[in-house]
């Protein structure tokens, strides 16, 4: 009985936890629709950044929500819904990236002929030259991110693009905060080497002790 009480969402749970509990306990379609509406954009963004392909990102986002519903009974209300959902999406991204690697296919090569989802068609047109420059820079950033090992890439994506705190990233990935920050540091070092010559002409000097740290690929 006590365990049941503790497993129920409390009065102070967020709307996401309440909605997910409704999905889990009553297969509530409306609650599930609300969750999709609130989270689809962020999950699509995460999957696109991780794979470098907005179309693949959309497929993965849809599969994420399909898997969320399929695994609804495994959701524990004592945990945060966002952590549960980020993990599902990231696992799907890892699976997809492994399939790409097995096929010897590079995600950035596959979609190299198109803009990486960066230039909104309805945006204020700054002119063809400026658009071309922005598109080239966006592609350069995407390519640089895809060159990062996944454990580093995911930290950059979650911290820089999705706005999670280092502590929250540690919870999602199941690693200490210090490790998250360390990976962020290594990722920024590599990105500096890859991007600064493109964006800022001359490469900048970095501290020798900083670049000497070998990146470690950690499993989640």
């Amino acid at each position: 009985m006590a365990s049941n009480l503790f497993s129920w969402p409390s009065l102070f749970s967020s709307p996401d936890e309440k909605a997910m509990w409704q999905v889990r306990s009553a297969d509530d379609a409306q609650a599930f629709t609300e969750l999709v509406g609130r989270w689809h954009g962020r999950i699509h963004s995460l999957c696109t950044r991780m794979t470098g392909d907005p179309h693949r990102g959309e497929d993965l986002a849809q599969e994420t929500f399909a898997r969320l519903f399929a695994h609804r009974k495994t959701y524990q209300s004592t945990g945060r819904f966002s952590t549960f959902l980020w993990r599902i999406a990231l696992n799907l991204c890892y699976d997809e990236l492994r399939r790409i690697n097995r096929r010897g296919e590079l995600s950035l090569e596959e979609s190299d002929q198109e803009a990486p989802g960066s230039i909104p068609l309805e945006s204020d047109d700054p002119g063809p030259d400026q658009s071309l420059v922005e598109s080239e820079r966006a592609r350069a950033v995407r390519d640089a991110l895809l060159q990062l090992p996944e454990p580093y890439r995911v930290v950059v994506v979650l911290r820089h693009y999705e706005g999670l705190k280092f502590r929250e990233i540690g919870v999602v990935l199941g690693i200490p905060d210090g490790t998250v920050k360390s990976r962020m540091f290594d990722a920024l070092q590599q990105l500096s080497r890859l991007l600064n010559p493109i964006f800022f002409d001359a490469p900048k000097a970095v501290r020798p002790d900083a670049v000497s740290r070998p990146p470690e690929r950690l499993l989640i």
Binding site: F12, G41, E134, V141, R142, F166, K181, N196
Partner: protein, 225 residues
């Protein structure tokens, strides 16, 4: 480790928190001070900031804005604050010396207050009974007056209605009598005409009978020898 002098640089992890505004204000001030004094770290942080700026070049179409939900997190903190405030006030009241003295004083005055309250209550009950009886008499008188006045009004209305009804009935009766009189007169007129006709017919019959009797008498006289 956390020394921010030129001889010992802050750890890279600390700079990451600094870059993404996750340091405490105190620690951030210390790191700012280190940056002012350390050209090497200043250059390094500038490189990282440029990399961060470059990352912003990859934008995605904005997702559809979601409806803002109820601020449950704010409610959580508000509820916690109210709970803590309530606990603090309760504990303060229970443990303060002023509360203890007030309790002793309350117990000392309890008996005297009870007796005075009992006396006052009995006095008030007597006054209340007296007032209730006066009020009942006044109510009865008022009710009687009101009843008589109301009955008079009702009777007047009833008489008026009766008079009106009687006038209506009288008019109906007069009309009916007039109709009956006219019908009677009409019947008498027709009866008179019938009687006159009958009388005339009878007179003619008598005349003819007399003539026949005269003829019969004459015939009889001539036949007799």
């Amino acid at each position: 480790m956390k020394n921010t002098t030129n001889s010992q640089h802050p750890a890279p992890e600390e700079w990451m928190s600094f870059l993404y505004d996750e340091e405490t204000p105190e620690r951030r001030a210390a790191l700012d001070a280190h940056l002012q004094a350390c050209p090497q770290c200043r250059a390094q942080v500038q490189v990282w900031r440029e990399s961060k700026h470059a990352l912003d070049s990859w934008t995605l179409p904005l997702p559809a804005p979601s409806k803002p939900g109820f601020p449950w997190h704010a409610m959580r903190w508000a509820a916690a604050a109210i709970l803590l405030l309530g606990l603090g006030v309760g504990l303060g009241r229970l443990t303060s010396p002023a509360a203890l003295e007030a309790g002793a004083l309350r117990r000392a005055l309890q008996t005297e207050l009870d007796s005075k309250l009992a006396t006052t209550r009995s006095d008030l009950l007597q006054v209340l009974d007296h007032r209730q009886s006066e009020l009942a008499q006044a109510l009865r008188a008022a009710a009687t007056d009101a009843a008589s006045t109301e009955a008079s009004q009702l009777l007047a209305q009833y008489a008026k209605l009766l008079e009106e009804q009687r006038d209506e009935d009288h008019e109906s009766l007069v009309a009916a009598f007039r109709q009956m009189d006219e019908r009677r007169r009409s019947d008498v007129g027709s009866l008179r005409e019938q009687i006159q006709t009958l009388a005339l017919n009878a007179d003619d019959g008598l005349t003819r009978a007399q003539e026949q009797l005269l003829e019969l008498s004459a015939a009889t006289r001539s036949a007799t020898p």
